[in-house]
Amino acid sequence: MSRSVRKWMLEAAAVLASVVLFWVPLYFVVLTAMKSAREASLMNLEWPSEVQLWQNIKEVVAVRDHMLLRAFWNSSVLTVLSIAATVVVCSMAAFVMQRRQDRASPWIGFFVLAGLIIPPAIVPTIWVLNELHLFKTMTGLVLIEVALGFPFCVLLYRSFMATIPREIDEAAVVDGYGGYRLFFTILFPLLQPVTATVIVTQAVAIFNDFTNPLYFFPGAKNATVQLTLYNFTSQFVSQYNLLFTNILLITLPPLVLFLFFNKKIVAGMTAGSIKG
């Protein structure tokens, strides 16, 4: 067999595999979301006798007094606030961590690395939040997301900070700049590419986060989108169409991000891991 034929077959096999492993599950989700409850319960790939996606959306949104809308609101607030805090807090920390080397540096590095590896202790964290009157509050959950995202984001910022020449700092100091003015007016704008990476990767991570809201943000009023989806699994045992409509709705935001920021996301994830 000639080389080009073999290559062509390899490519055809790869595309076929992608269809079976990726498009079929996706098609299944979309299809089920368009069906009536009775047809959805058959769980097959047949085209619905009547497409009722819009009706399903209206129905799923209305469930439990528009819980899904509240969940979308909660998740959006959580994502935006957490990211804003993460960007400010981590970029500032990375600035000093990268620029300043002294006896404390190895310790700081050790604690950051530990945070990447060690799973958070659940009940003691609840206890701490409770003592601070932050348990079951949005503020508490934002703090959790910031603290747990900190090691990854600060490492991203630190490695980018290393590429910004120190001469800039020196020139600014000669011009009479203090630390804050140097950082916020000169360096922070230069960090823009890595800030974009942090925003996109954290947006996906926090929007999709299930475990932390489950533990630290319980209660019907507090639901986030992932929790609602999880809770609906028990409510919609006989209404797979609504369950899958819900899946479809909460997959849309990451999908949109992916379409626009594909490169940014990939760059961020690899930058964070290769350097280790």
Binding site: N44, V89, L129, Y215, S273, I274
Partner: protein
């Protein structure tokens, strides 16, 4: 460092991060060692020594978590390494559909784990699920993927790989693309074939990528919770219970001391496996 710069690079910049990280992460982690030795109701505690740990090791429904966690981490990690490497090679070769395939492989990484878990548990339904009806059409009787205790854990692990392999692949792509062109040229002069290229150049020189994938996938596997919880809730019986899901169950049951002991065990488990592993891998890298 001059005095001026010590003032410019003041630790005040580190302060907000340090406070949040200390209060929300370090303090609870440190406290967990104490509370794991108690019977605890959040407002009140009784010191009971190592009783929680003894329970954890003696109770079969709890100790099964060690085995499952380890199996799950090893299976997902090794499949991600092998699959990620092969996909990385494929997606850096000259294919016309390369960018399409890259997007397809990567996209599941961004989808909610809960959504993936629910969708796949429907497809894995023993009689009406998509997988088994398709197999039946081919004349094969598919197993009860999530109901059979001997394969349920592996079924969940497969979905984990489906969702996470895009990340491993992306790391491998970056690693393979950073291999200097000269190596391939030298191989061509020496008359090596495609296999030599893969085995003697790509595999050893993408070693840093391999190390990253191993560490990240292994730690991720040890800590995994949401996919398992969405798909099986640890069942059937305790067949897919891992340490993280046991912690959640004990927490739900109000056994806070026991749940915290689980956290300490997971901490030790992860640290005892991840630190030596990363040291071993980085030593290998130097020898290269």
């Amino acid at each position: 460092m001059s005095k001026v710069f010590r003032r410019i690079y003041t630790y005040k910049f580190l302060l907000p991060a340090a406070i949040v990280y200390f209060v929300i992460f370090i303090v609870p982690t440190a406290m967990s060692f104490f509370f794991s030795l108690t019977r605890w109701t959040l407002s009140d505690w009784d010191f009971i020594g190592l009783q929680n740990f003894i329970t954890f090791f003696q109770e079969p429904s709890l100790s099964i978590g060690f085995k499952n966690t380890f199996i799950y981490a090893v299976v997902t990690c090794s499949l991600k390494v092998v699959g990620g490497l092969l996909l990385g090679v494929l997606l850096t070769s000259k294919l016309r559909t390369k960018s399409y395939l890259r997007s397809v492989v990567f996209f599941p990484t961004l989808v909610s784990t809960i959504a993936v878990g629910i969708a796949f548990s429907m497809m894995m339904h023993p009689t009406t699920g998509l997988i088994n009806t398709t197999l039946a059409r081919l004349g094969i009787e598919g197993p009860d993927w999530l109901g059979d205790t001997s394969i349920a854990l592996l079924s969940v692990a497969f979905v984990d790989v489906w969702k996470g392999i895009g990340f491993a692949t992306v790391i491998y792509i970056a690693g393979i693309l950073s291999i200097p062109e000269e190596y391939y040229e030298a191989l061509q002069i020496d008359g090596g074939n495609g296999w030599n290229k893969f085995w003697n150049i790509v595999v050893p020189l993408s070693r840093p990528a391999t190390n990253s994938v191993i560490i990240l996938a292994f730690i991720g596997g040890l800590r995994s919770f949401d996919l398992i919880w969405a798909m099986t809730k640890g069942g059937p019986g305790f067949a897919t219970d891992v340490i993280a899901s046991i912690i959640y169950k004990q927490y739900q049951g109000g056994f806070y001391g026991l749940a915290t002991a689980g956290n300490v065990i997971l901490f030790v488990f992860v640290a005892a496996l991840a630190f030596p592993l990363s040291r071993y891998l980085s030593r290998q890298e130097v020898d290269l």
